[in-house]
Symmetry: C2
Subunit: 274 residues, 2 copies
């Protein structure tokens, strides 16, 4: 246990420039936001495209070399490659270097470490309603990671990542399905590993804040309702599939669902107050 928690270095591209008191560079805070986010937004510059590509993907941070690592340790991000054929193609084509499309520096970096990508994980926790539109805000937790993505080729590491990602959707789900994946499934599923260069988080909690001028205006304060509408994501009663033959919704699913719903509400309500 280090005396101080590990922090990511602040690079010009990762530094929080606005409302710096909301910034957090601690690995644990950042990794927690990422690992509780059911959808990540992954961005990379596809060669020949005038716009960056952005893909919603499922991912999870972990350590294949040291599976017992906790959230505050150095971790890799594993992304489920099913929807990422464009990244895969970019990763593949980047090794057969095309210097005309990217700068020399970038090509070298790509073939050595994988393609540079940025990952965003964001939770919306509340609508902060204040006296003026200008001071309206959200309560939120937002993390950004920067790193280099490459295809996982080792079978044990791929299986580790597949289990990690499946269990991030529903804890214990992997062991309750038909595993291990067969040869065709291993072939058709790709997993990307992102070695993280750095990252940052930005968090807003608490009630509304307004300027003194409005707070002292009786007419405004007496007319405009101010407070927070807590927001969280709910997991509803499971809907049975067409070919399901299991009589009851399993306990591992129902217990986790109840817990997640309670925690979601508690958290959003908890951060709604100053």
């Amino acid at each position: 246990m280090p005396l101080r928690e590990l922090q990511y270095p602040t690079e010009p591209y990762s530094k929080v420039n606005r409302l710096k008191d909301r910034a957090d560079y601690a690995l644990e805070a950042i990794h927690r936001i990422v690992n509780t986010c059911p959808l990540l937004h992954v961005s990379f510059q596809a060669p020949g495209s005038p716009f960056p590509a952005v893909l919603p993907m499922i991912g999870q941070m972990g350590s294949f070399d040291r599976p017992s690592a906790d959230l505050g340790d150095v971790l890799d991000l594993y992304l489920h490659g099913y929807v990422s054929s464009r990244i895969m193609n970019t990763a593949r084509s980047s090794s057969s270097s095309s210097a005309s499309e990217t700068s020399t520096e970038t090509s070298t970096e790509e073939s050595k470490e994988g393609i540079p990508i940025t990952i965003a994980a964001t939770h919306l926790d509340g609508l902060v309603l204040s006296l003026t539109p200008n001071s309206h805000s959200y309560n939120y937790r937002s993390a950004i990671l920067f790193g280099h993505a490459s295809l996982v080729t080792s079978v044990p590491e791929k299986l580790y990542a597949m289990e990690l990602i499946t269990n991030s959707v529903v804890p214990q789900r992997w062991a309750h399905t038909r595993v291990p994946p067969n040869a065709a499934e291993m072939q058709s599923t790709s997993v990307l590993k992102v070695r993280i260069t750095t990252g940052s988080a930005k968090i807003r909690e608490g009630g509304p804040h307004d300027e003194r001028g409005d707070l002292e205006d009786r007419g405004v304060v007496e007319r405009v309702w101010t407070g927070v509408v807590p927001v969280w994501s709910v997991l509803g009663t499971p809907v049975v599939g067409g070919y399901n033959e299991v009589g009851e919704v399993p306990g591992y699913l129902e217990e986790w669902r109840g817990e997640r719903n309670r925690e979601g509400e508690e958290f959003a309500r908890g951060v709604a107050k100053d």
Copy 2:
């Protein structure tokens, strides 16, 4: 009313390559996903950075020139610039061209039309639990827009966008706050307008699907629960702020909240079945 609904052109960078039957290029479908999404993920290539920037932002599509335009019409995207100082700086610095950092083509494009950005809007609607980890999926609605962003300088257009964005957080909120913004607020708030080049949506609905091999395996089908856990975002009971003096939570907020919660649940449950 055109005979066929308007569609965005499919460019190499916007085309859905995988699971094409989930793709939708209709303006209405795409704009609806964007305008119901409380957080957008905005990506652009900052000069000198090895990684694309990704920022969570609030935005809304509309038409200042024709405010009565509906979701199926050609619209612009307005982004609240509060958190976008890096885009703003990039937009500003890109006009004082620095050819060393970007290709000639890009520089010309930037100074003419604004900086190229990509916007992602994603709704998670359900966890699709099937027999094997490989066939697990999400129900989701995802939209991507590509366009060029520039700062809104016209005061009436900026006010139009500020009202549009405020009312997207809570309908009718603008008129129930202290408006119009004063000179200092107009000065400190930036609004970005994105002229859309093209876009696409990808939508997954329905129950689980599995391979014949697993469906015919009695042991597997009798052991693994399959179905969908519907997911939606809930707006909880409002938490009164520290300086609120309005006795009751206003009707426009409570009615909308109830409606949004009902619709969210109905939608997620509705798409959970085949």
